[in-house]
C-alpha cells in the first residue's frame, strides 16, 4: 500500500496539530529559517496559553507574546537580534500586557542539551554550563548534582519533549522526509525530541530527490505529521540558497513595536489583515522581495552514492 501524503495547507496543519496549552518549538535554526508563516497562522487561529521553546527565535517570539497566545517561554534569548530588545516581551514581563508571561531562562547550550536528552529518550544530560549562574538558581529544569563517576559537581539538564516542533526547511517530499542545509542550531534534536513535527518547505520534491542524498535528510518523514508547502514562509529571516534576510523588516518592526499601539497596528497589517502567506507576500510586493532573492547561486559538488 502506498504511504499517505502528509501535504496540507498551513491553516490545516496548525488547526490539526497545535492546540491551546501545548508546548511548541519554533526558531530552532537560530536566525535562519524561522517559521514566521506558521507563527502568524497560530496567531490568526487564536491559540491560547502556549509554552514556546527555542534558543534564539529573533522577533517571532516577541510577536507571539504581543499577540497574547503565550503564557510561558523556555528560551535562551528573546528579542530582536539585529535591533535590540523585544518590546512585546518587555511589556508582558514588566507590565503584564497583554498578559503575564513566565520566563524560564536557559542558556543556548542547556536548551540544546534539554532537546538532545529528549531526542535520546533519557531524563537529563549533564554539563558544567550555568554552574555559578542565576540561571541555575532560578530555572527548575537545571539541577546541580554530584557526579556518580568522579568528585565533580555538574548540572543535570532535564529533558524537554515539545508537543510540536515547527521546522522550516529547504525541501521535503510529501511524506515529510526533509533536506536542510546551512546552520542547524537545535533543529535536528528538536525534530526527534518533539511528539509531533510540522515541516514547512520552500519546495516539495519527489522522494528520489531526497534519497539521492540521504546524509542531507535530517528529518525523516516517520517523525512528521504534516508537510506544508510555503515558499517565502520564513521571511523576513533567511533561507540559505533561497532568499536573504530582510534586515529592514526587523528594524521597522523594532520601531513600530516600541509602543503598544504601534505593535497592534503592525499585527493588523501583517497578520490579521492577510489571510495566508500568499496575501502577506502580495502586501510586501515583488519590489521588496526581488533584492532578497539569491543573486549568485553556489551549488555544492554532488557526492557520489554509486557502487
Amino acid at each position: 500500500m502506498a504511504a499517505a501524503s502528509k501535504l496540507v495547507s498551513m491553516r490545516e496543519a496548525i488547526a490539526r496539530h497545535v492546540r491551546d496549552g501545548q508546548t511548541v518549538l519554533l526558531g530552532a535554526q537560530m536566525e535562519q529559517m524561522i517559521p514566521f508563516a506558521a507563527g502568524h497562522e497560530i496567531i490568526r487561529q487564536g491559540r491560547r496559553d502556549l509554552t514556546l521553546i527555542g534558543p534564539i527565535s529573533d522577533i517571532l517570539f516577541d510577536q507571539l507574546i504581543g499577540a497574547g497566545v503565550v503564557s510561558r517561554v523556555l528560551a535562551a534569548w528573546v528579542g530582536n537580534v539585529s535591533a535590540g530588545v523585544g518590546y512585546c516581551l518587555r511589556r508582558a514581563v514588566e507590565q503584564n500586557i497583554p498578559q503575564p508571561v513566565q520566563m524560564v531562562d536557559y542558556s543556548n547550550f542547556t536548551l540544546a542539551l534539554a532537546l538532545h536528552a529528549g531526542a535520546l529518550g533519557v531524563p537529563f544530560l549533564p554539563t558544567y554550563a550555568t554552574l555559578g549562574s542565576e540561571l541555575l538558581a532560578r530555572n527548575g529544569n537545571l539541577r546541580e548534582f554530584p557526579s556518580p563517576v568522579n568528585e565533580e559537581r555538574l548540572v543535570a539538564v532535564r529533558a524537554l519533549r515539545p508537543d510540536v516542533a515547527i521546522l522550516h526547511v529547504q525541501r521535503a517530499d510529501e511524506f515529510g522526509n526533509a533536506h536542510l542545509w546551512g546552520n542547524f542550531g537545535v533543529a535536528i534534536d528538536g525534530a526527534r525530541a518533539a511528539r509531533q513535527v510540522i515541516v514547512v518547505a520552500e519546495e516539495i520534491v519527489a522522494p528520489d530527490v531526497i534519497a539521492s542524498d540521504p546524509n542531507r535528510t535530517l528529518i525523516p518523514g516517520l517523525l512528521v505529521g504534516a508537510v506544508v508547502h510555503e515558499p517565502w514562509g520564513a521571511h523576513p529571516s533567511p533561507v540559505q540558497g533561497y532568499y536573504g534576510r530582510d534586515h529592514r523588516f526587523f528594524t521597522e518592526y523594532h520601531e513600530q513595536s516600541r509602543t503598544l499601539e504601534g505593535y497592534e497596528h503592525w499585527l493588523r497589517r501583517w497578520v490579521y489583515e492577510v489571510h495566508d502567506r500568499r496575501e502577506y507576500l502580495e502586501r510586501l510586493g515583488a519590489q521588496r522581495l526581488a533584492p532578497l532573492a539569491v543573486r549568485q547561486p553556489a551549488f555544492s559538488v554532488p557526492a557520489n552514492f554509486g557502487y
Binding site: 537560530m30 534558543p55 536557559y106 542558556s107 543556548n108 558544567y128 554552574l131 555559578g132 542547524f184
Partner: protein, 267 residues
C-alpha cells in the same frame, strides 16, 4: 539593547579614529594567532575579522548556531546566521557541535557583551535597571555557556556607573563570582574566566584574586574620569598604560569591513 544615556565623561574621539574603532582594535589584540574563538556579533565580530587580517591570520571563528569559519564572510553580517556567514564556511553543524568543543576546553577566547559587569567580572544580560524601573533584556543566549567554559573571555561595553557596578543585579554569566577560588568552588572548569573588560574609557584586567583593576586608559581619558564612572572603588595598575590607538593599517582594514561605520559608529 537600548542606547544608554550619554555620559559626560565620555571622551571625544581623538582625531583620525572613532571610539568604536579604538575598542575594536583593542579587542582584536586579545586574539592570538591560531586560536579558536567564539565570535559573537557586532564589535566582537569586527574585532575577530580585524585580528585575522592583521596579526592572527590563522585564528578560527566559531558561532553558536553551529558554524566554524576560517575565512571572513564576504559581506557585513547583521546576524551569525546571515547567508554570507554560511557560504564558504568550513563547517556547518548543530549548536551542540560547537558547544561540545567549548565544553571540552578547546575554545581559547570568547567575546561577550552585557548590560552590567561587576567588580569580579560577573555579567548581567537579563535585567537592567533604569532609575526605579527594571527592564527585561533578551537574556543569556550563549553568553553564560561561554563565560563558564571558554579559557578566556573579553567583555565590551560602554563605561557608565550604572553598568560597571559593585555587584550585578542578576548574575547571567559567571566571572570570578566573589573572587579567589569561587569558580573552582562552583565546579567550573579550571583555567577559565574573564581576561579583560574593554570599555569606552579604558581596559580592565583581573588580579589573581579575581578582582578587576584598571590596566589602561584610552587616549585623552583621565584616571579620575574612569574612577568617577565606575560603581566601586576600582583598583588601578601600578604601571598604568595608555590603550594603544588603532594603527593606520588597522583603521584601513576596519573601514573596509564596516565602510559606513554601521557597527563602530554606535558605541
Amino acid at each position: 539593547m537600548p542606547a544608554p544615556a550619554h555620559t559626560e565623561a565620555a571622551p571625544q574621539p581623538a582625531h583620525g579614529y572613532s571610539l568604536g574603532e579604538l575598542m575594536v582594535a583593542a579587542a582584536a589584540r586579545e586574539v592570538r594567532d591560531g586560536e579558536l574563538v567564539f565570535v559573537g556579533m557586532r564589535l566582537p565580530l569586527l574585532a575577530f575579522l580585524l585580528a585575522k587580517r592583521t596579526h592572527a591570520p590563522r585564528a578560527v571563528g566559531l558561532f553558536e548556531n553551529g558554524v566554524l569559519r576560517e575565512t571572513p564572510a564576504a559581506e557585513l553580517l547583521y546576524t551569525m546566521a546571515d547567508p554570507p556567514n554560511l557560504r564558504g564556511a568550513t563547517w556547518c553543524g548543530a549548536m551542540l557541535d560547537v558547544m561540545g568543543l567549548l565544553q571540552q576546553g578547546r575554545v581559547d577566547l570568547g567575546f561577550l557583551g552585557a548590560a552590567e559587569v561587576d567588580r569580579f567580572g560577573n555579567l548581567n544580560s537579563t535585567w537592567a535597571r533604569r532609575g526605579q524601573q527594571n527592564i527585561r533584556l533578551p537574556g543569556s543566549g550563549g553568553a553564560c555557556d561561554i563565560a563558564c567554559l571558554a579559557r578566556r573571555t573579553v567583555v565590551l561595553l560602554k563605561h557608565e556607573k550604572t553598568r560597571l557596578v559593585e555587584r550585578v543585579s542578576y548574575l547571567t554569566s559567571p566571572g570570578y563570582g566573589t573572587g579567589n577560588d569561587w569558580r573552582r568552588a562552583q565546579g567550573l572548569p579550571a583555567g577559565t574566566g574573564p581576561a579583560a573588560v574593554i570599555t569606552t574609557l579604558g581596559v580592565l584586567r583581573f588580579g589573581a584574586d579575581g578582582e578587576a583593576f584598571l590596566d589602561s586608559v584610552h587616549p585623552g581619558v583621565r584616571v579620575e574620569d574612569v574612577l568617577a564612572n565606575t560603581g566601586w572603588t576600582l583598583r588601578v595598575a601600578e604601571q598604568l598604560k595608555q590603550t594603544p590607538p588603532p594603527t593606520a593599517a588597522e583603521l584601513a582594514v576596519l573601514r573596509e569591513l564596516d565602510p559606513g561605520g554601521f557597527w563602530t559608529g554606535v558605541v
